[in-house]
């Protein structure tokens, strides 16, 4: 078994601020993901990474940067927080694809922008 940890659990920022969210996993999984969860809009993929130093854009990458410097960690940066933005950011990881492509999710970071 393994675990995914996300920090911080709650993040409050100001409009225009640059904010960084962090994710660590000890599954030894190759692939990691960042999703944004908004009520009624499902889980939307922001970035994913199939190995250390790899980055792939998802459907919602505009306004975000990501960094995968180690296999176990994956960071997401909100480049300029938008006023009244409120969402949960979920990190996930998975082993190689096909039938084994189960994704395991972290507990989430809840973002509020004032």
């Amino acid at each position: 078994g393994g675990i995914i940890t996300q920090t911080p659990k709650f993040l409050i920022g100001q409009e225009g601020q640059k904010l960084t969210l962090k994710c660590q996993q000890n599954f030894n999984h190759d692939t990691m993901y960042w999703y944004r969860q908004d009520s009624g809009k499902g889980l939307r993929l922001i970035y994913y990474s199939i190995t250390e130093n790899d980055l792939q854009k998802g459907d919602l990458s505009e306004g975000y940067d990501a960094s995968r410097e180690k296999k176990s960690s994956f960071s997401l940066t909100v480049t300029s927080a938008q006023k009244n933005e409120m969402a949960v950011f979920l990190c996930a990881s998975s082993s190689p694809g096909g039938i084994y492509a189960e994704q395991f999710f972290g507990p989430g970071t809840r973002l509020t922008v004032l």
């Binding site: 692939t31 993901y33 999703y35 009624g40 809009k41 499902g42 889980l43 939307r44 993929l45 994913y48 199939i50 792939q56 979920l90 998975s94 082993s95 190689p96 694809g97 096909g98 039938i99 084994y100 492509a101 189960e102 994704q103 395991f104 999710f105 972290g106 507990p107 989430g108």
Partner: protein, 114 residues
């Protein structure tokens, strides 16, 4: 690109009645993998069941689903709803590629009442 369509919004049921949450998908890949994830309140999404075999029923924790490639569907069913089934349910699609990238539907919230 790939897309997943689920029963919209909120489904409210009385305990003991059958559950059916619809999921249809669109993809160019002939061998897609389909998943149902469940997210209880204040928890992370976790895998409920998965399938890649056409017309084969897959079951887990009282829920079942059958992938029908002819109709591009993977509906989630349970014969008798329990209060503890109240949660957010996501249907997701993978092309089976090595990056295990998933496309999620918008989610269906199931509320079971006594």
């Amino acid at each position: 690109g790939d897309s997943v369509t689920q029963t919209e919004g909120l489904v409210t049921l009385t305990e003991g009645l059958p559950v059916m949450l619809n999921c249809t998908y669109q993809t160019i890949y002939s061998n897609p993998f389909l998943f149902w994830y469940v997210q209880h309140l204040n928890e992370s999404p976790r895998l409920l069941l998965k399938s890649f075999t056409d017309n084969k029923r897959t079951e887990h924790q009282g829920f079942h689903a059958t992938l029908h490639k002819s109709s591009s569907s993977f509906h989630l069913q349970k014969s008798s709803a329990q209060l503890s089934d109240s949660a957010l349910y996501y249907c997701a699609l993978s092309d089976g590629g090595s990056n295990a990238k998933l496309t999620f539907g918008k989610g269906t919230k199931l509320s079971v009442k006594s």
